[in-house]
């Protein structure tokens, strides 16, 4: 028949509507950059550069040194290049990762061996601090920009200056090489100008773009047709091939944008467009989608963002802050890009035997299908009960409540309290506790009584608790402390409520007036 005495039915855990507004694929992807490895540097992290070769080492420039971290183990302190007399700037890898170039406060541009850290070349023409130095795409030249308002083009093999680029009227702070041609460079300076140079044409800019604010960073698109400049609290997207037309201005920051990076691979699987990351002194790193130039994700950092870097395989996201913190986050599920540089698979030398050392040994054969001739022994699988369910089944209400509190899941506690109320066992569950037994309950109350979805129930439980234990208040200092904490929590919540009520009172006439105005129009 239908209505047999059935098995014990598990406690139904209440499920609430998810609290996040809308989880997008984009947000999910960027949230998967987890577990920041935080390392403290000696000064503000002014520049971060990832090597283009596996294992994608990163060069972090902070204070008077450039530190090279291994891309596979960014938590291990890397090799330090400290051959600077003063503050170092702009530590950059060559594209093959074997050389590092860095500028300095003293104006000397130095080229190091990435492995031995020995100084290979020193370019000493700049008179003022050199804030930017980059290797050319041909691996043989270095472009440096300095506060003496010049940029210089050096030959690494001979160690001499090839060209001096004059034209800026203020500090040169940014430089980027075009991906189309090794001879085309863009430099940005504090005179609000971005100049485009063709080094074959000599010492005159072929294009000048007015950013409108001191330029902090310049980046070319992978195609080379567009370029992005950062300066002030906005970004500008320029059509270089179209003669320097301003395509878009992105005003998404509160303070000066300090760094931009482009990554063709970043973003969720479904997204095809490249992503742009921009960090700002307001502590935000925002991710732009470059089809529509919309912000798809933003993350907040505790200090002004000075520099950032994304590894070419999009596995590591490094952000340097003004307070000297370097935060490196690893993506939980990095994309496997076919053809992208990666670790070659180690060849397995021998076939491993399945032994009892492996869990799979014990579940082997479970998925194999029974043959027609096999005799089947049907065994009913017992439902596994949670500790609170086991106790509830035996009508031990107080212990069940303790077990639910031990799970530290508020929805479990709420469900159990409701069930106890329906069974009329709430009094039995709450009463008869000593100080030790009261504490977890009170701690739960203090923690969750302010959450709107639990407030109604927990305030009722609190009432009952106080009714029950009113006589013994003062007997245990620990319980008294928690009661005081509960009192403070409620007072704080009431204060917030009062403020909100005041705010609502202020807003109401304004809304009414605006509605009336709208109706009048």
């Amino acid at each position: 028949m239908e209505y047999e005495p059935n098995d014990y039915q598990k406690l139904q855990i209440r499920r609430y509507a998810p609290r996040s507004i809308r989880e997008t694929a984009e947000g999910k992807y960027w949230r998967h950059f987890k577990t920041p490895i935080v390392s403290k540097q000696f000064g503000a992290v002014s520049h971060i550069d990832f090597c283009q070769q596996y294992p994608f080492d990163l060069a972090v420039t902070a204070s008077t040194r450039v530190i090279l971290y291994n891309g596979r183990a960014p938590n291990v302190v890397g090799r330090t290049i400290s051959r600077f007399k003063d503050v170092a700037y702009s530590g950059c890898f060559r594209s093959d990762g074997r050389l590092v170039v860095a500028g300095g406060q003293d104006g000397i541009v130095q080229v190091f061996d990435a492995n031995s850290r020995s100084v290979l070349r020193q370019f000493k023409a700049h008179k003022r601090p050199t804030r930017v130095a980059r290797f050319g795409a041909d691996k043989l030249h270095v472009l440096s920009g300095s506060d003496d308002v010049t940029a210089r083009w050096w030959d690494v093999s001979s160690g001499t200056q090839v060209l001096r680029l004059d034209g800026h009227r203020d500090y040169v702070r940014a430089a980027a090489g075009s991906p189309n041609s090794p001879d085309v460079w863009a430099t940005g300076a504090y005179d609000h100008c971005v100049k485009l140079w063709d080094l074959r044409a000599g010492n005159s800019a072929i294009l000048g773009l007015d950013h409108g604010a001191p330029v902090e960073d310049v980046v070319f698109f992978p195609t080379g047709a567009l370029a992005v400049t950062a300066g002030g609290n906005y970004l500008c997207v320029w059509d270089i091939l179209g003669g320097g037309r301003l395509l878009k201005r992105l005003d998404n920051f509160q303070k000066t944008v300090t760094c931009i990076r482009l990554s063709p691979l970043a973003g969720p699987e479904s997204a095809a467009a490249p992503r742009m990351l921009a960090g700002s002194l307001d502590g935000h790193v925002k991710i732009f989608e470059l089809d529509s130039f919309r912000v798809t994700h933003a993350s907040k950092y505790p200090a002004p963002v000075m520099s950032l870097g994304l590894s070419p395989d999009c596995r590591l996201l490094a952000v340097g802050l003004a307070d000297g913190t370097l935060s490196v986050r690893k993506h939980a599920r990095p994309k496997v890009v076919p053809g992208a540089p990666g670790l070659p698979k180690p060849e397995r030398k021998y076939q491993r035997r399945l032994t009892a050392a492996n869990y799979r040994y014990f579940i082997r054969g479970q998925s194999s299908r029974a043959a027609a001739t096999d005799f089947r022994v049907l065994r009913q699988r017992q439902a596994r009960l949670q500790p609170y369910d086991k106790l509830l089944r035996r009508f031990r209400y107080r212990e069940a409540l303790d077990a639910a509190l031990a799970t530290r899941q508020p929805q479990v506690v709420v469900s159990l309290l409701e069930e106890l109320a329906a069974r009329g066992g709430l009094v039995a569950a709450l009463a008869g506790r000593n100080a030790e037994g009261l504490r977890p309950l009170l701690r739960h109350l203090v923690k969750y009584i302010g959450e709107p979805r639990y407030t109604k129930l927990l305030s009722n439980v609190g009432h009952r608790l106080l009714d029950t234990y009113a006589e013994v208040v003062g007997a245990s200092p620990a319980v008294d402390r928690l009661l005081r904490a509960l009192h403070n929590r409620i007072a704080e919540e009431l204060g917030v409520m009062g403020q909100l009520a005041q705010l609502a009172g202020v807003l109401e006439p304004l809304l009414a007036a605006s509605l009336a105005a709208g109706a009048g129009i």
Binding site: E2, N6, Q9, L417, G425, A428, K456, L457
Partner: protein, 846 residues
């Protein structure tokens, strides 16, 4: 026809071969198959409630039945024929029959004097001279050998030897009231359960029972000179509900409110359990055929056959379940706890039954029961809130109270509102569950269910739940949810509710929800969401109704009715508050909140009911059409004939005042003397009237009296003829009436139909049949109103000025404003009003 009723409240029995279950069900004895659990027959003949069914000890094919109609009858239950009738002259509550001596003991609830246990000689048909007086009629027990009989009476357990007379019974006293008793087959043990859950077992007590009437002593009660050895065992947390010994006397079986069958091994006092039976146990009856089987009666109108050898339930018979205590009987607030799945759409349930519709009822433990109306049979259960049926830990009132309520007491979750989509494919429910509040606070939860996959026959689909949960909405409104209605053509539902200024109604629609993964193969899920929220002047929204084509949504805002376009969520019109009677019009508090709204299909009328007024609005003119000062408990619209049925309680004082009217109206209640006696016993409203109106005017068409029910809920069923062929016979169409389901507060129901109509009503059971009454006289009879039935506004002209002058202004309003506080159609003409208006303006103080 009559259906429903409790089958487990009174003691039943298994047949001699153990294949049939016989149990009292109202005035009938229902016979169920112990194999399939379906009903195979009835024994009809008693004219009042049957209290006890027991096998004739001499013949296994015959049963004795006792009844409150003062007779005990002997039946051949296989043939269904009555063999003998014993006239007891008093209502019999319990009985046992002794085989050898041919005597029977009856525990009678005497109509005059105290209850007593009487000895009746079955062979001679005579009573013995002495009777044992008790405080209340309580169960009797007879030992297996038939030499000892016993009964309990509050703190006393009386045991006496069977014979031609009741000698001085042995009195075993206990400090707690006894609830049940049992004597083992070999007379060696007697067990009794008490209110505290203890079970007392006396051993070798037989010699303590006085063997014969001692000379010179009265046949009073004897206290034992030497107490027999007593063992007390205690497991039950609540009063012990039932006790019985196994046939070999090695086990004692006990059951109580916990819903656990406990087996006591008497040698070792070890216990074993059969838990989670699903309701308080009211009775245990051993099977005469198989010593391992027992009939277990449980409070949720459940009878189970339990096999103690396998510790399994073999058969379950479910009757109609009682209304939970949290729900106002019989159907909850405004009848929301009951819905009828129409005959055409009943296929959605997957059952083969339901030719006359399926009744969905809210029961204890947040279950829904689906009940075949015509076949009077349980179909399915749906657990709305998955939860174990456990007894409350807090002390309950008494076992008797819980058995009447039909389930576990305590603030268990319960379904308060339910409704079906017109095709029966979607079920919407609102259940409330208690939160931990000390002050009885509850939280509501709105759920939408999809019909489970249709299964071909009843026997196959019996295991599956009939509906699957689709969407769950916690706390759809801030506080209470007052009504839930479904759109007649679309998948759209409307709930009203909220408290105070947050009162509102919400429109819920079903729409596709694309799964997050963009795989095209997965079908789109249909989910429910709230589309819009509306309110009207922060008035409490108490009821809602859709018109039959779904174009108009009527929502009751306090005493007013607001009409909305459900598609565009716009307010279309507001109907004025109806007020009936001269006093009601003038007083500012005249308008009581409406409890129910009902569009009458096929007509432009909308009916509304409140506790003081029944009103019908004409939607073409947006005015009040007529109203009557009636407390309509329940209203229902007849879709096929365009009629309105109203259930009205008879208040006791009114019943006294309207003696003549009641006598006229209550044709079936017998002479007026019986009526007064009934009124005297029960000062509460004891009966109801069901009146069918034609909405075009306020004259009643049909009338039916429902005796013995304080509250009823009425619903029209679709008549098969009307559903199939429409109103083919125009003569009948104009004059007929769809069958009307009248559900009483004890969940018994009757089907009433217009006389002469070939509906599914059995004409033999004339109780529910509507009798045609002359219109005006019936209204007078029912309500004792000498005024003209049609003219609700007629007496207003003279009353208004006179009473208005004495009523002071309320709430700072000028007093003359009260003069106009009435719908325009009831206001007197201006010429009449002007005089009193000027009078009120000029007079400064009252």
């Amino acid at each position: 026809m009559v259906g429903g009723g409790s089958i487990s409240k009174r003691s039943g029995t298994l047949s001699g071969d153990g294949k049939l279950i016989l149990c009292p069900c109202g005035q009938l004895v229902s016979i169920y198959s112990a194999v399939t659990g379906s009903r195979v027959g009835v024994l009809a003949g008693h004219t009042d409630e049957v209290t006890c069914v027991m096998l004739d000890p001499e013949d296994d094919d015959q049963v004795y039945t006792s009844s409150l109609d003062t007779t005990v009858r002997l039946w051949d239950y296989r043939a269904g024929s009555e063999l003998r009738r014993l006239e007891v002259r008093e209502p019999v509550k319990y009985m046992v029959v002794q085989k050898e001596l041919g005597v029977a003991y009856f525990s009678v609830q005497a109509r005059e004097g105290s209850p007593r246990v009487m000895l009746y000689n079955v062979r001679t048909g005579k009573f013995s001279g002495t009777a044992l007086k008790t405080r209340s009629a309580r169960p009797l027990a007879l030992s297996g050998m038939g030499t000892l009989a016993a009964t309990i009476d509050r703190h006393s357990l009386f045991v006496w030897r069977t014979g031609v007379d009741i000698y001085q019974p042995l009195n075993l006293h206990h400090t707690k009231p006894y609830t049940c008793l049992a004597i083992s087959a070999d007379n060696s043990l007697i067990a009794a359960g008490d209110m505290s859950g203890r079970i007392l077992i006396w051993r070798s007590f037989e010699h303590s029972v006085p063997s014969a009437l001692r000379q010179g002593e009265h046949s009073g009660k004897a206290h034992p000179t030497q107490q027999p050895p007593l063992t007390t065992v205690h497991w039950h947390a609540h009063p012990v509900g039932a006790l019985t010994f196994s046939q070999d006397g090695t086990y004692l079986l006990s059951g109580g409110e916990e819903g656990v069958l406990v087996f006591w091994h008497l040698e070792t006092n070890r216990r074993s359990f059969l838990p989670r039976l699903g309701g308080p146990i009211l009775g245990l009856h051993p099977s005469p055929a198989d010593p391992a089987k027992y009939l277990v009666r449980m409070a949720g109108n459940i009878i189970r056959v339990v096999n103690t050898a396998t510790m399994k339930v073999e058969t379950t018979v479910l009757g109609i379940k009682m209304a939970p205590e949290a729900l106002a009987p019989p159907a909850g607030i405004n009848g929301g706890g009951v819905a009828v799945l129409a005959a055409g759409s009943a296929a959605a349930l997957g059952g083969g039954g339901g030719s006359g519709g399926i009744l969905a009822l809210s029961c204890n433990n947040a279950e829904l029961q689906f009940y075949d109306i015509v076949r009077d049979q349980h179909l399915k259960l749906l657990q709305v809130v998955p939860r174990n049926a456990v007894s409350s830990s807090e002390p309950t009132t008494s076992l008797v109270a819980s058995s009447c309520g039909g389930g576990f007491s305590g603030p268990a979750p319960v379904v308060v509102l339910l409704t079906f989509s017109p095709d029966g494919s979607v079920l919407a429910t609102v259940d409330v569950r208690p939160d931990a509040g000390a002050y009885g606070s509850t939280e509501a939860c709105l759920k939408f269910w999809d019909s489970a996959a249709l299964v071909k026959s009843t026997s196959q689909c019996i295991t599956g739940a009939p509906f699957k949960l689709n969407t769950r909405v916690d706390e759809p409104h801030r506080d209470v949810v007052t009504s839930l209605v479904y759109h007649p053509c679309r998948h759209m539902a409307v709930t009203t509710g909220g408290s105070g200024l947050d009162s509102e109604f919400k429109v819920w629609i079903r729409e596709e929800q694309r799964p997050e993964t963009t795989a095209a193969a997965t079908p789109a899920l249909m989910r429910w969401r709230c589309r819009s929220i509306s309110g009207y002047k922060s008035l409490p929204m108490t009821a809602a109704a859709f018109s039959s084509d779904g174009s108009v949504l009527a929502v009751a805002a306090a005493a007013r009715v607001t009409l909305w376009d459900a598609e565009s969520n716009t307010l279309v019109a507001i109907l004025p508050a109806a007020a009936a009677g001269p006093a009601a019009v003038v007083g500012p508090t005249a308008a009581t909140p409406l409890t129910q709204l009902q569009f009458i299909p096929g007509t432009p009328f909308l009916a509304s009911s409140s506790t003081t007024c029944l009103a019908v609005y004409n939607l073409l003119t947006v005015t009040l059409h007529w109203c009557l000062p009636l407390h309509a408990m329940s209203i229902s619209a007849d879709a096929a004939y365009g009629l309105l049925a109203v259930a009205i309680p008879v208040i006791a004082e009114e019943a006294n005042q309207q003696q003549q009217g009641a006598a006229l109206a209550v044709a079936t209640a017998g002479p007026a003397k019986g009526m007064t006696a009934a009124v005297h016993q029960r000062p509460q409203a004891a009966s109801c009237h069901v009146v069918v109106f034609d909405p075009r005017d306020s004259t009643p068409r049909y009338h039916c009296h429902v005796p013995g029910a304080a509250r009823v809920h009425i619903t029209h069923l679709q008549a098969p003829a009307a559903a199939a062929g429409g109103t083919s016979g125009s003569g009948e169409g104009a004059d007929g009436c769809s069958p009307l389901l009248i559900l009483r507060d004890n969940r018994q129901y009757s089907l009433a139909a217009a006389p002469g109509s070939r509906a599914l009503v059995n004409p033999a059971t004339s109780q529910g049949a509507l009798e045609r009454v002359p219109a005006v006289s019936a209204l007078e009879a029912a309500f004792g109103r000498p005024d003209k039935a049609g003219g609700s506004a007629a007496p207003m002209d003279t009353d208004v000025p006179a009473s208005a002058a004495t009523v002071p202004g309320v709430g700072g309003r000028p007093r003359w404003a009260d003069l106009f506080d009435a719908p325009s159609h009831v206001l007197p003409p201006p010429a009449v009003l002007a005089n009193s208006f000027l009078k009120l303006l000029t007079c400064t103080d009252v």
